[in-house]
Symmetry: C2
Subunit: 339 residues, 2 copies
């Protein structure tokens, strides 16, 4: 039986699977056209289903932000996993075990001490280890400064600069006889790639599969491409404060985005005059940007839809994502958590 | 074999069980002395083990913030549960089922429409329902404005005012023939109760079992009473920015407390000159409040200990709490999540 979104108890994170597929497909095609390998980042959603969509079902060539994600994906048949985190010294043994289990498991190093840590734990079958030491697979840069951009032009200027720095570094490595891969990331730069990025081996964006209000303000996407929402209900009328209470507090949205939007912590879809002013653990306070609230428009129990400022932070708060196609529920995705 | 805290992978939420027991016991004794029933709130920790400590093992007379908590505790033999949330219209059926299952399950009403919703779903065995309608169990106030206080005197002034308003309201109810219970909450007011609170039926604080930096600033506790920490490790040196990177981002601490402390998002125990300036998903940026960082004091892999600004928000980010006694690990607590 077809259940519409309105049957969900709130707050609920809802994922538009058609938009997810479209966002994923567009990135896959963009990278194919450019001639660069896409290695999508899993940190935004941390689910199997979305990973399948982002890898086109290959279950190969992904980036993760935690070892818990790495193990979760390894346990489910994923391989060629890049743990995009400077080798944490407390997790060398767990990293070594993953390296021994998988065809390819990569870690990041940014300090000579980390190399010493790796050398102390040779791998069982000698994989990755040469007699001379560790094998350098590639050079990884985040391109995170694209998050300070506004508009395609600024994004592409940063993308160009990051690409150029990275390629110059590759040349220097080549001059001393080292040939290896290169990868840059960030959803803004990969949503509007510059031609030079074709000279890189890989790109590793992640947020693009959901996008969010932040990405729309940067210029990575339009608001209509954002694939996630938090459904919430009106649970209180506070005429003495000219406010509504909704059943979404920071446990349902996160506190990310404070002070960034005229509409407060989120965009309330279809209600441009409403502002999510503040949140407690399980309550949100909503007020009009101007004028008096017309409470008859927002009866107790009525639904409101929040577009998150930062979908990575909002998704993190939810133990289950409710997946829909055109407003009809089609499944649930369960993310992995922890480290 | 005794494992010290330093064997944990980080970031990790660690709970000092001795402090938890002490905080719980002190509140139990305070309420006994005052002659008021303690109904502890579970929202801060959401675990069975901590609920047992807070109820002195009775598994009776608790408050919860979500229906997921209510079901979790009901499933484990808890009863006399107050769901401290204005009746959510989408959850009437689930509330009714809990009312039918438990000896006592209470919901809050703050609007006549909510009463109509309840009346539409009579309980199977008639519990709580009279021929005349719904039974009013009591009056509930949060006393949340104590969070704006600084020091015992201000806390007690608010506690006195809230108690006085509540008791006046009880008198008005009595005048029209209604006798029922009364309850106020908040960790600040219950940490420093005023004598008049003895005239209330119940109090319902929750955070006190962990406390946090916020509570110490309000004056509810001393920092030495805070029972939780986030363990984190140094994972990067950034001398060009005079910063350290630590492996605790907002997934390990939450973004609560922004702009509230001279030391940033947390207090870094034993390092009063360090500030947790900002966080990304999995990284924290730490810089000295003044002067140049001496990196030899913070080698890669070394441990730092964060005292959270708001323990409710920090605990929410962790799928498991690591419990210790005097620094030796003694177990894990698994919280419930969702709604």
């Amino acid at each position: 039986m077809a259940s519409p979104l309105s049957t969900l108890c709130t707050p609920a994170l809802v994922v538009d699977v058609d938009k997810v597929k479209k966002n994923a497909q567009r990135m896959i095609e963009r990278c194919e056209k450019l001639g660069v390998q896409l290695r999508p980042h899993m940190k935004t959603h941390k689910t199997l289903e979305c990973a399948d969509i982002m890898t086109g079902g290959s279950r190969r060539c992904i980036v993760v932000s935690t070892l818990a994600e790495a193990c979760f994906y390894a346990d489910h048949g994923f391989d060629d996993i890049l743990y995009a985190y400077s080798l944490p010294f407390d997790k060398v043994e767990r990293c070594a075990i993953l390296s021994e289990r998988l065809e390819l498991f990569q870690v990041l190093l940014d300090h000579p001490d980390a190399l010493e840590q790796l050398k102390k734990r040779p791998l069982r079958d000698g994989r990755l280890w040469h007699e001379a030491g560790v094998q350098l697979t590639g050079v990884y840069a985040h391109c995170g400064n694209t998050y300070n951009c506004k508009g395609v032009q600024e994004i592409q200027a940063v993308a160009k600069e990051t690409t150029s720095f990275t390629l110059q570094f590759m040349e220097k490595l080549k001059a001393v006889g080292i040939t290896c891969k290169s990868s840059i990331g960030s959803t803004p730069s990969c949503s509007h790639p510059v031609q030079d990025m074709a000279k890189l081996s890989e790109v590793h964006p992640g947020n693009f599969v959901f996008y969010d209000v932040q990405q729309s303000l940067i210029g990575s996407c339009g608001v209509e491409e954002v694939a996630v929402r938090v459904l919430t209900r009106v649970i209180g009328h506070c005429p003495h404060r000219n406010q509504l209470l909704i059943d979404c507090g920071w446990t349902g949205l996160s506190l990310d985005g404070a002070g960034k939007l005229p509409t407060g912590y989120a965009v309330i879809e279809g209600h441009p005059n409403l502002k999510l002013l503040s949140m407690t653990q399980e309550h949100g306070r909503v007020e009009p940007i101007s004028g008096k609230l017309d409470y008859s428009m927002y009866p107790l129990g009525s639904l409101l839809t929040l577009i998150p400022y930062h979908s990575c932070a909002t998704a993190m708060m939810h133990p289950v994502y409710h997946v829909h196609s055109e407003g009809i529920l089609v499944g649930k995705w369960i993310p992995t958590r922890g480290w």
